[in-house]
Symmetry: D2
Subunit: 311 residues, 4 copies
Amino acid sequence: MALTGVTRPGHVQLKMVDLEAGIRFYRDVLGLEETGRDAAGRVYFKTWDERDHSSVILRQADEAGLDFFGFKVLDEATLDQLEKDLQAYGVETQRKPKGDLLETGERVQFKIPSGHTIELYATKTQVDAPYGQQDPKPYTAASDRGIAPIRLDHALLYGPNVDKVLDLFTNVLGFHLTEYVTLPNSDEKGALWLACSNKAHDIAFVGHPEPGRLHHVSFLLDSWDRVLRAADIMALNGVPVDIGPTRHGITRGGTIYAWDPSGNRFETFMGGSAPYPDWKPIRWTWEGLGEGGGLDVAHRKLHDTFLTVVT
Amino acid sequence: MALTGVTRPGHVQLKMVDLEAGIRFYRDVLGLEETGRDAAGRVYFKTWDERDHSSVILRQADEAGLDFFGFKVLDEATLDQLEKDLQAYGVETQRKPKGDLLETGERVQFKIPSGHTIELYATKTQVDAPYGQQDPKPYTAASDRGIAPIRLDHALLYGPNVDKVLDLFTNVLGFHLTEYVTLPNSDEKGALWLACSNKAHDIAFVGHPEPGRLHHVSFLLDSWDRVLRAADIMALNGVPVDIGPTRHGITRGGTIYAWDPSGNRFETFMGGSAPYPDWKPIRWTWEGLGEGGGLDVAHRKLHDTFLTVVT
Amino acid sequence: MALTGVTRPGHVQLKMVDLEAGIRFYRDVLGLEETGRDAAGRVYFKTWDERDHSSVILRQADEAGLDFFGFKVLDEATLDQLEKDLQAYGVETQRKPKGDLLETGERVQFKIPSGHTIELYATKTQVDAPYGQQDPKPYTAASDRGIAPIRLDHALLYGPNVDKVLDLFTNVLGFHLTEYVTLPNSDEKGALWLACSNKAHDIAFVGHPEPGRLHHVSFLLDSWDRVLRAADIMALNGVPVDIGPTRHGITRGGTIYAWDPSGNRFETFMGGSAPYPDWKPIRWTWEGLGEGGGLDVAHRKLHDTFLTVVT
Amino acid sequence: MALTGVTRPGHVQLKMVDLEAGIRFYRDVLGLEETGRDAAGRVYFKTWDERDHSSVILRQADEAGLDFFGFKVLDEATLDQLEKDLQAYGVETQRKPKGDLLETGERVQFKIPSGHTIELYATKTQVDAPYGQQDPKPYTAASDRGIAPIRLDHALLYGPNVDKVLDLFTNVLGFHLTEYVTLPNSDEKGALWLACSNKAHDIAFVGHPEPGRLHHVSFLLDSWDRVLRAADIMALNGVPVDIGPTRHGITRGGTIYAWDPSGNRFETFMGGSAPYPDWKPIRWTWEGLGEGGGLDVAHRKLHDTFLTVVT
């Protein structure tokens, strides 16, 4: 199989300081479909076009932030092998039982050097295409309910030990580096964009003194027109916006950064390049990240919030 | 590595009944960059955003059509393994020497049951990003030279033995089936969309009595706006158009089918779904292909040319 | 006042062979808002962004077609003056009383040499902007209900005496000619695009032996992306499509021609040039209309239905 | 004639502190066509799609800013009448001779209460459509040269006496008010959007203590995709950007505000509503201008530069 190992971002569990406000936002403004609630009070969502039971899980908490980010792997044998590979690499792993997350099989959870909890799993109940598995039409009512992203696309995480994260993701988990930022006057990498597919990125990291921080969770839109529509819907609903609409020089994708009601940043993203593992990663200098448009092609500056506001 | 085995469509060699007209078309109208000519008189091209030396190769011939379609594999070890796997499966393979194609390593060539020549290779000279490897800008003059596709995206091939092709591509080459069409009143597959990535397809096949036929080679555009711009540029240059602008129900991509000066069909394509190997393939009935909008969402009919005009 | 006289297409009354099917189509598929029903059984609609009470009026009839096409003029004094000008020109006019159409003032109705009934009126109850008159947001739920056009944009009418229609519209009603088609091997005009604004056209005519025929009523969309969305929604609802998505060379607008349930053609239109009265009209030869892309830039042919299917 | 009186923004004369840098910017980055230079050293430009000789005129000066903004009127009789109307209203006018501006007839120049010099003219040498007057194609090479706007669209001017400007433009020059902003806790108008067409605006004013200031000159683009392309081209050329890409709540248009090399702000604009003279103007409160998204739908704040940076 050409696509093996880790196939994609599968789910993210987010902490809500006001769960009800979070539910309203993710369901009515972002336009996700609520797919279940569990005994622990967690609420599950998926985008209209995703085929797995859920991709976003919300829970009530005292502060905002990320509980864990999960990747779906090809199958259970792959899960077993990656668990062994992680352990052999020196990473402590923990099996979460089947059903601990609704409609989800066993998960292998572990902490990475940046302080984040990552998990792998192979099994989640699948649903039919939103328009059916036979002779589907490309449009359904769900296509325009709220911002209506296509899928959970990636996350950007902040924490220490970016070099160790790079080693773990490329040498154990099979990701490849697509773009990176070097620290001022240095060849040391300060930020990483990593893919397990031919997307511009499936996960990204920025070096940060505090471990385990979330910069943003990203949702894919179809077009730059849909990014403007997202801005319109954010305005209608009073969603605070951080950056954009603009293009990132890094990944070349169109973007808006904004905040959910708990203060977790999310992104509505479109486009982006489609690099392959054999492509030379693009290097961004620290100046390139800011004045060079790596973060914001239109404004070519390093917005303060980019480096300082995380949950 | 999560992306392994066959990574992507790499190059296509096309037969031109008028090579000079073909060069003018692929260079000036489609807007590819000419990257070399070899002793055999072949002319090499790449899109502005591709990182390998070449993706389209033209040669003078007595009739139009496809010489071969080549996939790039991860590395030379993968090439060796896939060669062995093909032989073990009973496919006769032939090594083409390094340099037989400009700036390209050894290629493993073989015939598939549909009568097409497919080849695999691991090595092709890489070039920098069009805008440079450090602090690039997203736009260059090349971004708007002609239709200016981003990449060679896929091909649709016509020939017999679709069921055997499916077995070979999924069980030996590691592709997964994303969508398929069944024959009238039958569960037998008459057409296949296959991917080695999370694209909607990297290669597709339609059952056809004549072996080795080319339906179209497809080039990726950024947006539906760029598809309209492609139509405008086709009009300016008198390029005959077959179908579109429209959306395919199959793959959900935006499209124009048109013909190069030798009569080889090409596609300017955008969007499309992004299925994963674990997604259930979408089934299209024969009626779904036509009246159901599988081919043409706007017109929902089976255009005659779709089944009859190939090279 | 710089915008005087006839300001815009205001309303169209269409004949439905199945009124209920028509209501469902214009309301649920095209996405107009139903604004009233009158004693005669007529049903009134407006687009989400129009400020007048109604722009589309449907009535039950034995056959499809156009009852009349109405233009809103600046004010009642203008209406009186234009009535006198028409009469002085030799056109018989008829006053329709206030309230004959819901929420509409007196209308001056007359037949033009192509056999169509045109009417002028100055008064129609106005409504607030869909999002309010103060500090509005650009998006409302109505923005995405069905195809959701912005406005009734223009109509294309078929009938005899195109030269006389041109004289009447330019010399009495104050329109200017923006583009025209000449008959084969002739300087005689066979088709006219006329504007009373800086739109590409507010009304158009094609010469035809039968008087009073409707080719299509056109509705404006925001973008080419919205034209594709319209195609998707047409597919979802089984709306038969005639031509497009494509660009018209004439007007440069993006288009789909399709048919309502009674067989009246409608258009979903975007873009288009913005000529002024002092611009030289663009001339299209008969070949230019077809092979030159005047009708269809992508396909550059004179579709049979364009000249033959009218209601 | 339905379009009478003042028909449109015709030309703007801008002061350049570095004329050569200005020429390079307007020609190579914005992508205007240079159409002439006069004995006074002024350099003339037009967009690819305009039909008059020139719309942007640059001259060397000690400081940046606006010399005058000119409107084209329907014909010489209209010019004479408007001159009389202005004088009767108490405005002093001055005739500039034919040929004082290249290829331009006599101009009637006058100062308005905001301190700006406005002029009217009826005659300017017209050129053919860029793609020809017969059977044109919608695309030419010029369509993609630089940012490549379609036309000079409008200007926003800053100065005192907004109420008197409103009276002059609506009661003498025939414009209608489309939207306005009221001052904090007041019904007094602090900003005006005025149209002589069915555009969202042909000229706009914001109250400001200094007379005769330029906020920006705006150029129309086809689509939101073209606005992103403009941002990309600005990045490639180091053009400093003020605000955007975003949508204005006022006018509903997509926008980027940026600065030319002399510090004059310009806008690349798309879309926008199409109000008519009988529509009720939209009112924006002062909070609506800022937090309500009147200026910036995405960010909903009153950027400092909007009120303070003018030339």
